[in-house]
Amino acid sequence: MAEYFHSVTLEKEKCRGCTNCIKHCPTEAIRVRNGKAMIINERCIDCGECIRVCPYHAKKAVTDPLSVMNEYEFRVALPAPSLYGQFGKEYSRERILKGLTELGFDWVFEVARAAEIVSDATRHILKSGKVRKPLISSACPAVVRLIQVRFPNLINNILKLESPMEVAARIAKQTVVSEKNIPAEKVGVFFISPCAAKVTSVKAPYEKKESSVNGVFSIKDIHIKLMEKMKNIPPDCDCELVSSGAYGVGWAGSGGECAALERPKTLAVHGIHNVIAIFEEIVEEKLKDVDFVEALSCIEGCLGGPLTAVNPFVAKTNLKCQVNRAKSKDFSSENTAADYQDLLWTKDMEYKPILKLDENVMKAMIKMQKLEEINDGLPGLDCGACGSPNCRALAEDIVRGLAFETDCIFKLREKVSDLADQMKAFEHIYRTKQDGSGRGKTNDG
């Protein structure tokens, strides 16, 4: 595995070199160079904002092709709760889960169920009081990576529990191995994902050495196929695959994880730029009286994921219907905190100081001085025409040796007009001289 794997990638031929993606990237991870966008790997957190805003669809999320299923003897689908929001009220959860088995999966285990387990574990952790507050949810991998690169002081606030996807994958695999007597390596578990960040967290996990998930399919890729299969399934069918209650299903949207905690002092924020604003408040200790923060990168949470098929607000209405229909609140358990030991991260997260100008603070200061100086000379329009997201970022790129002052069209224009002035002045001198010598000749003649 390379040092950086990213699901979010650029299709160069489609890129027209516009400024949409560079302006929306929350970590300033994209530049336009030589007429094409390029992603700075160490800065990208796979939030998928660029996928959403690219008018030419040049940004895409790499997911696994459905054919990887063929590599396994027994195949389990792990649908993200957001999948339920993709269909109208005539599609019950029973119908959707049954539909998945018709798509070639031998069994389905709801990630929603695993979400309820994570919620129960979180309730115990919060009750123990032995955590730094506010505790920040780790459900959204883009948000966790955002903390890793931009909010080092919040690393200790992260809820270091595996995500519902990982928990689901582990339970599903164990269940199949013990009940069907099939060796683990022949069991394939596949997450049906609303986003790119989940793909990255499977291929390059930060919380443990290796993910239990064998493949990630995008909701978009199976949406139509699933619709087709569901046509032949009666709406009021029974299905023993339903294992989650209302709380687990609710996790798909913003506020769902908070609701499952049944605590008053929680805060739910969605949309990566809103998340940043809340994190700044936490760092500056402005946010008081909040125990738990649910932070999701996409607007309306996973329902707004870049790999979903329907409008997030429509999906929200659909989901409400599924939540109301759930037969229980969540699974009932007599578990204690000790029962959730195996959910804890086995690897700790280290701060990645991507914004640092230099390894050496003194050198960084000299670069900063230069950066400020260059920035003062730039027009401050933040037009993005230079290929950097704003004037300050251009100044930073220049200091880092990655761009030139004349990449700024205003600076270039100044330079060109200076040159023109010099040329005029030179021409003037030249003409006067020529005229002078010419007259001299006439006089001579």
Partner: protein, 141 residues
């Protein structure tokens, strides 16, 4: 020795939504310099509290931030009413903030003690009807 980096910020009066803009900017600056995250946190909390004081009590003011090889020096100053009894103002829980500000969750009387707690050197000068100057020094190492 003169400072390597010097920044000035305006602190608007009574605008809570913009209070913290300067400290947030300074935090970004320090992050780019690769300063230790704990020191960044202390700096931004101390500066935010000072900024907030200028917003609530001082009719707004200015902040000057200087970064040296070994330290950060912050001066937050206003031309507000000044503090009658600095010793009293330093006490935790003592506040002269009006009710509407307390209702917004500010003015708990922890500001000055919080600045002191987070800075390495802290000096406050105030004169009635002239204004207040808060000097904060935080060492980088």
């Amino acid at each position: 020795m003169s400072s390597l980096i010097r920044k000035e910020y305006d602190i608007p009066a009574n605008d809570f939504s913009r209070a913290g803009e300067a400290s947030s900017n300074v935090r970004k600056l320090l992050t780019q310099l690769g300063v230790n995250p704990t020191i960044i946190k202390r700096t931004s909390i101390a500066m935010y509290e000072a900024e907030l004081n200028a917003v609530i009590h001082g009719n707004g003011g200015k902040a000057r931030v200087e970064i040296f090889e070994d330290r950060i020096e912050i001066l937050v100053y206003d031309e507000g009413p000044g503090i009658a009894d600095i010793e009293l103002a330093m006490q935790e829980g003592y506040s002269t903030a009006p009710d509407y500000i307390r209702e917004m969750g500010f003015g708990a009387g922890m500001g000055l003690s919080n600045i002191k707690k987070n800075s390495d050197k802290f000096v406050i000068e105030s004169e009635l009807n002239k204004g207040t100057r808060v000097y904060i020094t935080i060492y980088l190492y």
